[in-house]
């Protein structure tokens, strides 16, 4: 399936682009991360420390073991610092 992957804050800086469209058969977010990290050094650097990575699937916060299901948009970003 086709998924829009979004990056924010320093994950965006490390990957080098704010978003990309990917073809994936990944079952979970973690599987998708494994595929993305294997793409190149920039992606690998972004996902080097997964304790510092948060994820939203279709704009809902989820854990890394969440199923991708029919996700259309998956976002990766560091812990949030709003307020």
């Amino acid at each position: 399936m086709t998924v829009d992957v979004l990056y924010f804050a320093w994950l965006r800086e490390r990957v080098g682009i704010p978003r990309e469209r990917v073809e994936t058969q990944a079952a979970t977010v973690r599987d998708l991360v494994t595929e993305l990290a294997a793409r190149d050094d920039w992606h690998a650097a972004a996902f080097a420390d997964m304790t510092a990575v948060r994820c939203a699937v279709d704009q809902e916060l989820v854990g890394l073991d969440a199923p991708l299901g029919k996700a259309r948009e998956v976002a990766f970003f560091p812990p949030m610092t709003g307020g």
Binding site: L6, F8, A9, W10, A56, Q59, L61, A75, F77, P78, P79, M80, T81, G82, G83
Partner: protein, 149 residues
Amino acid sequence: MRARVQTQPFDPAAELEGFGAGAGAIVTFTGVVRDDTGSMAALELEHYPGMTERAMEGHGDTAARRFDLIDWRIVHRHGRLRVGEPIMMVATAARHRQAAFQAADFLMDWLKSRAPFWKREIGQDGSARWVAAKDSDEAALDRWQAMPR
């Protein structure tokens, strides 16, 4: 919409015009850009367009149900902000004092660690540093889980 994300500055006082009719207690919190180091030129806030508005609206509704609010507002800026400018504000209106205070505190705890915003400090020398999340913010949010509703 009772939750709003914008780049333009806002006036906390103006946001309260006509807010909370019928309430006995109104609490507001305003966060202001502060320069702790004396070397900051600006604060930049990145956000997740679409998710930010939805999440803020959804969480405001959760707070309204949990604390029986008469009304609430969240205004949050993104983009480049200068020292002394308001970053965001939360307003809650309830019949009683404690609900208004608790709801404002609850919304702030959520905004600090669950709303998709990321702060970056821009130094006077042009340097940029992402603000690290605090464990204490995460812990602050957790205490609401344990609390009887």
